[in-house]
């Protein structure tokens, strides 16, 4: 083992950013692997600085390591320079903490945060010398996966031994306990899969098959093992106030993407934006009390020494006591030089006031997400803001001294027409005029407009819609490139081929999974990194696998169609999604569910599920 450590050290002299691979950070867990019953490798299929910015990893890492009988270590996708050296020198993929090869673990747990990381999952297994197909694995370890993309488990069904649906902190201990029990009895590999298939929230893909219609759509998803659930229900944390939240956090040596304390103040979102998968799958909305948050903040600042604390959630300004919370945190820690940040800003005056408060410690940018350029289209996607809101908020911000504004939009939204795209341009220029009105000129002003391309996602009201063709997207981008030319405007756009691939995989079935493996065989990895994304290879992979990608990305589905993810129950009722889909076509909005319950079904999902309920007026 030490031998491997020395070999790794020698390679690290030659790679960029060697601390991606060293471990040893403050608050990382040091245990003797000989003294535990279960060794768990938490695997993030991207580089260290991306993976370490992920809150879920931090929660599960510390949660598992609280147990004396478990040692959870971390592993990330090595960057290309390191991978090359590892392959040349026969060094298997290893854990950061003890430099143990991955095949020595009991579990390798991948978190699936974005579809374009799937080839990295396969590549990491291969780099660890573990067969990439579940059926070829004998003995240990078990390769498991969770995270938002796991809700459509079909594309990685041949690769992953079993998926965990829902909130990991709710179920992971049950899996570990079952494992310890099984291992003690010396059971067969197959037997453990049967045991976990009975744990609520676990989906074992080999016990299910997709049966297809002539036209290639799914006829049914059939269980082929007695006693496994017809539908796998996701797990939900019911007592969010007291659920485990780490009081310490690893402090990386290198600069990572989100290099700050992450404190989760609530989970779920009440907004109901129809394009947003997170807003649907993380329901119900559950808040932590202000007291709890202040207490956790204090412990985290003491244990990390971080200079910034981020209050994370899907829509932080919606926290019911946000103003008071931010004020208290600023007051308490400003002398220590600790700033507060909120990851997303609502488009209203309250939010601007919050930002002013935050500015007292650290300068912060202003980022707003109108998402669409016209009111009609904002109503279609249920983004409940008006142009007035946006103009008022930016005016307020300019008066308060901001000179940089970032605006996020999506293009290719359902029903979008060229005039909606023009609406983005109009809005941008109105904001420029706004600045002129406040300041008298446009000196120092910078407005950055970024468009991402809409990707229809499972479990959203838009799961039935077609994605715009690449050609249409390019036309829209060209229009924006042409019209957003000005000294004070900057336009950023996404590679449309990447968005197309994301759409294919996100609503893909098991056949798409075969194409992913083919793409990896052709050398695809780090597909989420534009400089390594190679669509030509993907095109060939689809061809060889006999998969027409447009069937998945650009086809409108009928309401009756059976989806690959219909085998999973995320708590939001399909009838609600259909209702929202129909309302979107009529351009009708649905209010925030803090006002009244909009009947998504999650409240009746399971015993003890409580959703945010607005006080009766």
């Amino acid at each position: 083992m030490n031998n491997l450590k020395d070999k790794i050290d020698a390679l690290l002299m030659k790679v960029s950013k060697p601390t991606r691979y060293t471990g040893g950070e403050l608050n990382s867990s040091i245990k003797n692997p000989e003294e535990v019953k279960v060794r768990f490798a938490f695997a993030f299929p991207d580089v260290y600085e991306v993976g370490m910015s992920h809150l879920g990893l931090r929660i599960l890492y510390h949660l598992l390591n609280k147990r004396e009988d478990v040692y959870c270590e971390r592993v990330f996708a090595p960057w290309l320079d390191m991978e090359k050296l590892m392959r040349e020198n026969d060094i298997p993929l290893f854990s950061l903490e003890t430099k143990t090869p991955l095949d020595k673990f009991d579990f390798i747990g991948f978190t699936l945060q974005y579809e374009l990381s799937y080839t990295n999952v396969i590549n990491m297994l291969n780099l660890a010398g573990i067969p990439i197909l579940s059926r070829d694995r004998k003995g240990l370890p078990f390769v498991i996966a969770g995270g938002p993309c796991a809700y459509n488990p079909a594309p990685l069904s041949d690769v992953i031994d079993f998926f965990v649906m829902g909130e990991g902190e709710e179920v992971i201990n049950e899996i570990i306990d079952a494992y310890i029990d099984w291992k003690k009895r010396g059971g067969e590999r197959e037997e453990f899969l049967q045991i976990v298939s009975q744990i609520k929230g676990v989906y074992v893909p080999k016990y299910y098959i997709e049966v297809y219609n002539q036209d290639g759509t799914i006829k049914e998803i059939r269980t082929i093992k007695k006693g496994v659930p017809e539908k796998v229900k996701k797990r939900i944390v019911k007592d969010f106030e007291n659920v485990y939240h780490p009081e310490e956090q690893i402090v990386p040596f290198m600069d990572i993407v989100h290099d700050r304390i992450m404190l989760e103040i609530f989970r779920g979102c009440t907004r109901g934006c129809r394009f947003c998968q997170a807003g649907m799958i993380y329901r119900p909305v559950r808040e932590k009390s202000k007291e709890k948050i202040l207490d956790l903040a204090d412990k985290l600042i003491k244990s990390t020494g971080y200079e910034e604390i981020s209050l994370t959630s899907l829509s932080t300004c919606d926290y019911s006591q946000i103003e008071d919370l931010v004020k208290k945190l600023i007051e308490k820690y400003k002398d220590k030089g600790v700033g507060v940040s909120i990851p997303s800003t609502r488009v209203d005056a309250v939010s601007i006031n919050l930002l002013k408060e935050i500015q007292k410690v650290r300068k912060t940018g202003l980022t707003l997400a109108p998402e669409a350029g016209t009111q009609r289209l904002r109503d279609v996607i249920n983004k409940g803001i008006t142009e007035e809101d946006i103009l008022e908020a930016t005016k307020e911000a300019f008066s308060a001294g901001w000179t940089n504004v970032k605006l996020y939009f999506m293009i290719g939204l359902p029903t979008e027409m060229m005039e909606d795209v023009e609406g983005i341009v109009d809005l941008a220029y109105k904001i420029v005029d706004n600045y002129k009105e406040v300041k008298g000129n446009v000196k120092n002003l910078k407005v950055t407009i970024s468009t991402s391309t809409f990707v229809p996602k499972p479990f959203t009201p838009f799961q039935w819609t077609a994605q715009d063709s690449i050609k249409d997207i390019m036309e829209k981008q060209d229009l924006l490139k042409k019209k957003l030319k000005s000294k004070v405007l900057k336009y950023n756009w996404h590679n449309p081929y990447m968005s197309f691939l994301e759409a294919v995989i996100s609503r893909g079935d098991r056949k798409v999974g075969k194409a992913i493996i083919k793409a990896w065989e052709k050398g695809c990895k780090f597909d989420g990194w534009e400089e390594y994304f190679n669509y030509d290879k993907w095109e060939k992979a689809f061809k060889e696998a006999g998969v027409n990608p447009h069937f998945y990305a650009n086809r409108e589905r009928s309401l009756e169609e059976v989806f690959p993810w219909d085998v999973i129950d995320v708590g939001v009722d399909k009838r609600y999604l259909i209702r929202e889909y129909k309302k979107s076509q009529e351009g009708r909005i649905t209010p925030d569910c803090r006002l009244y319950c909009t009947g998504c079904g999650v409240k009746d999902f399971d015993e003890g599920v409580v959703c945010f309920e607005a006080p009766q007026k």
Binding site: M13, G24, L26, V251, F253, I301, S303, G305
Partner: protein, 217 residues
């Protein structure tokens, strides 16, 4: 306000963290230890911490220095203890003492002692003699890149001492003493020059470098 000069260790476990990373490590450790550090004035205030010459990424040290200006009155000994309690494994302050506020670390550091181990491709006879020959030269030139392009620089005046302290079949271990300061070479520059002189006998990419000490005026 007072200025504390600190000598610290950075061992094998943290040898890959960069100079900039190390600055952050100390800043965050100060906050964990709840020690009030002095901040610079200006638009973007930053804590007043200054380091000696940067160490190469991948090298260890047991004799680097760093000055920290503090707002609070804390004894050097207490400061050292408090900091060591919260520093990550592998980094440790071994000595702290107060210096005058106008005493700048950068003007005090004159030289450094290193232990450098390098793998050899084949064993070399009479290595000690050859090193002595090498050191008798008046000019040892290396190629350095600068803004105006590549140029040859004579590093001989900066090399105070170079000797072999351990000979093994597959490696050599050197003791090196260098002058430090603007434009001064690092031990790897010297190693490269020596390798050229000896006819490419070293596996120049597989070395271990340790800074034994810094020489303060």
């Amino acid at each position: 306000m007072k200025r504390l000069r600190n000598k610290y260790i950075k061992d094998e476990r943290v040898k890959f963290i960069s100079h900039l990373d190390l600055l952050r490590v100390f800043q965050r450790a100060l906050r964990r230890a709840d020690i009030k550090v002095a901040f610079s004035q200006g638009f973007n205030p930053h804590p007043k911490i200054s380091f000696g010459p940067a160490l190469i990424v991948g090298a260890t040290t047991e004799g680097d220095y760093m000055d920290i200006d503090l707002e609070e009155d804390i004894s050097p000994e207490e400061f050292r203890k408090k900091m060591n309690k919260v520093l990550p494994p592998g980094i440790e302050i071994v000595e702290s003492y107060e210096v005058e506020l106008n005493d700048a670390l950068s003007t005090k550091i004159k030289g450094a002692e290193y232990i450098l181990q390098v793998n050899v491709k084949k064993s070399i006879k009479y290595i000690q003699n050859k090193i002595e020959e090498f050191m008798r030269k008046d000019i040892i030139e290396i190629e350095k890149e600068s803004k105006s392009g590549r140029k040859m620089v004579n590093i001989r005046p900066c090399v105070l001492e170079l000797k072999v302290i351990e000979e093994a079949e597959d490696y050599l271990k050197f003791y090196i003493k260098l002058k430090l300061g603007e434009g001064a070479p690092n031990p790897l520059h010297l190693l490269k020059a020596l390798n050229d002189y000896l006819g490419n006998l070293f596996d120049i990419d597989s070395y271990k470098l340790h800074r034994k000490n810094m020489i303060l005026e």
